[in-house]
């Protein structure tokens, strides 16, 4: 099979697995709801756009860990060998990254809605939505690029619980710094073309992350 056919098939497999067990998706949304509600309880009302922005990204990162950390849990044991003989590892990692970035994008849009519901829309008054959305798409891609390869690393360890945050969080620093600065601009109404510096930074970082995952994953896969 060609690489892109393999990728499509693998994405379809992941979607149908997710659809079969909707409780994991519901769990992710519930995690978002619970964390945003905790913020609501402690903050009552958002003081500034800066704090809103910081909280939003922190919550998105941790729901990203929550959503993506288990993305190789179905590829262990016998299924690992089945896939090993069947597909190209490069197709597998690309499929996982694409699937996870859609998952992340969905989660961050739901997160945005929950934020608006509980923490008020007053910080969103002069938001440039298309610019903010481009930021969300690129950050979701970058997040899933880093977290997918980290979860592939962690899936090979016995003790998976805490280690994925220890391994993943420092790697996310550059991505989070750029996207937080980009979205702070977008929140105050700057368009995507007026924010080219950070946009290019996000793009380059995504390209670097996905290239690294693409090159490095086959070494993890070949046991």
């Amino acid at each position: 099979m060609k690489l892109h056919r393999q990728i499509l098939t693998l994405i379809k497999k992941d979607i149908s697995l997710e659809y079969k067990s909707l409780e994991s998706l519901a769990g992710m949304v519930l995690f978002l709801l619970a964390t945003v509600y905790t913020c609501f309880l402690t903050f009552k009302k958002m003081p500034t756009a800066e704090v809103w922005n910081a909280l939003f990204w922190i919550i998105i990162i941790f729901s990203g860990f929550n959503a993506i950390s288990g993305s190789f849990k179905n590829e262990t044991g016998g299924k690992h060998f089945y896939l090993y003989f069947l597909v190209n590892p490069k197709a597998l990692i690309l499929a996982k990254i694409i699937y996870n970035s859609f998952l992340m994008l969905t989660l961050s849009i739901i997160g945005l809605a929950i934020f608006a519901l509980f923490l008020g829309t007053n910080v969103l008054e002069d938001i440039n939505f298309s610019s903010f959305f481009i930021g969300l798409v690129l950050t979701s891609l970058g997040l899933s690029g880093i977290l997918t390869i980290i979860s592939a690393i962690a899936s090979q360890l016995d003790f998976k619980g805490g280690i994925i945050t220890v391994l993943g969080l420092p790697l996310l620093f550059p991505l989070i710094l750029i996207s937080q600065k980009y979205s702070a601009q977008a929140l105050s109404g700057v368009s995507a073309s007026g924010n080219m510096n950070f946009l290019l930074g996000l793009l380059t970082l995504n390209v670097a992350v996905i290239t690294l995952s693409y090159v490095l994953f086959p070494y993890l896969w070949r046991q």
């Binding site: 880093i146 390869i149 690393i153 090979q156 360890l157 016995d158 003790f159 280690i163 220890v166 391994l167 969080l169 420092p170 790697l171 620093f173 550059p174 710094l177 750029i178 600065k181 510096n197 950070f198 930074g201 380059t204 970082l205 670097a208 690294l212 490095l216 994953f217 070494y219 993890l220 070949r222 046991q223």
Partner: protein
């Protein structure tokens, strides 16, 4: 002996740099004045100097306030309390057309000492004396004392830390580069020695990273008033520490896996590139003002901050610490290799 010459060179360079850093004095300078605002006419103020030898060379002590590149207002010595404290008086003319002035003092030992923007003139106060007039700006040179550290405001004696703090980071970068190189070699060749080399160099890099953090933190406390600040370079330092530490946690928890070396190598390569993105790319992208020297995103000191005396010891210090770091890494690798072959 013949193959160990580089270790001797490294040790000698480190000893030279350390001795130099602790033993040589700082250039004379002016730390502060008791008042920052002067009025028209007669004023008195006292000056706190540094290594300024006011008593030792009291007969030649003189000074002026610089108005512009040509004109100056002369000051007279009222009282010399000790080597670093003295009182002066100045007569500010009524037709003064500048509000901010620099203070210059000199004697035969120190040459010209200089405090930028020392005084502001309040032209609405005071009663100007008729006798007040200008002289010319004149610089004088003192005794030539070889190898003094440059005097810089706010940093003062902590400038010696330059020869410890910066070489730690350079050594860390060299060792991280070595670690990356051996990780890539290991992925492509599967030889266990490359895995051991990557782990050893990362471990020594972690030690140098910790030393860089400690020396930097102490320096920041003196120069900026805080143990830690939000700064692009400090973010880079923190992330390199976290990633190196995470690498060892990963190695430890993958210890009994058949492909532990592969896992560690993949993580090491990933973390190296992310550290580089944070240190090299982000400061240039955000353009945030940084307290740390090397404003243009370059993590090292710029040529502006280094004078030739400092270079005489800074470059040997860097070379010496890098060689020492590689030496320690080499020893550590040989020990871990022996342990590995025994078990």
């Amino acid at each position: 002996m013949a193959k160990n010459w580089w270790k001797i060179v490294g040790a000698l360079l480190v000893i030279y740099a350390t001795a130099f850093s602790f033993l040589r004095p700082l250039e004379p300078g002016i730390i502060q004045t008791d008042k920052t605002e002067l009025v028209l006419g007669q004023n008195t103020f006292s000056v706190t100097g540094y290594n300024s030898h006011f008593v030792d060379y009291s007969s030649s002590l003189k000074g002026f306030l610089r108005v512009d590149s040509v004109r100056a207002i002369p000051i007279t010595v009222l009282d010399i309390k000790d080597n670093v404290h003295a009182e002066f008086s100045v007569n500010v003319p009524a037709d003064i057309d500048k509000t901010v002035m620099d203070l210059f003092l000199s004697n035969d030992r120190t040459g010209s000492m200089f405090l930028p923007a020392a005084f502001r003139i309040d032209q609405s106060k005071g009663n100007p004396a008729a006798s007040a007039e200008y002289t010319n700006v004149a610089f004088s040179s003192g005794e030539e004392i070889p190898f003094e550290f440059p005097f810089q405001l706010r940093i003062f004696d902590t400038i010696r830390n330059l020869n410890f703090h910066v070489p730690m980071w350079f050594t860390m970068f060299v060792l991280m580069g070595l670690s990356l190189w051996y990780s890539i070699r290991y992925l492509n060749s599967d030889k266990i020695e490359y895995d051991l080399k990557a782990a050893s160099s990362a471990k020594i890099a972690l030690i140098f990273c910790s030393l860089g953090l400690i020396t930097g933190s102490i320096w920041a406390r003196f120069a900026w008033g805080d143990w830690w600040t939000t700064d692009a370079k400090l973010n880079g330092a923190a992330v390199s520490f976290l990633l190196l530490a995470a690498y060892f946690i990963l190695r430890k928890s993958a210890e009994d896996k058949p492909n532990k070396g592969k896992i560690a190598a993949v993580y090491n390569i990933l973390s190296f590139f992310m550290t580089m993105a944070l240190i090299m790319v982000l400061p240039r992208l955000t353009g945030a003002a940084s307290l740390h020297p090397g404003e243009d995103g370059n993590p090292a000191f710029s040529s502006y901050d280094l004078d030739s005396n400092l270079r005489m010891v800074f470059y040997p210090a860097c070379a010496g610490w890098i060689i020492t770091g590689i030496w320690i890494y080499n020893l550590h690798y040989r020990i871990s290799n022996l342990k590995n072959t025994q078990s």
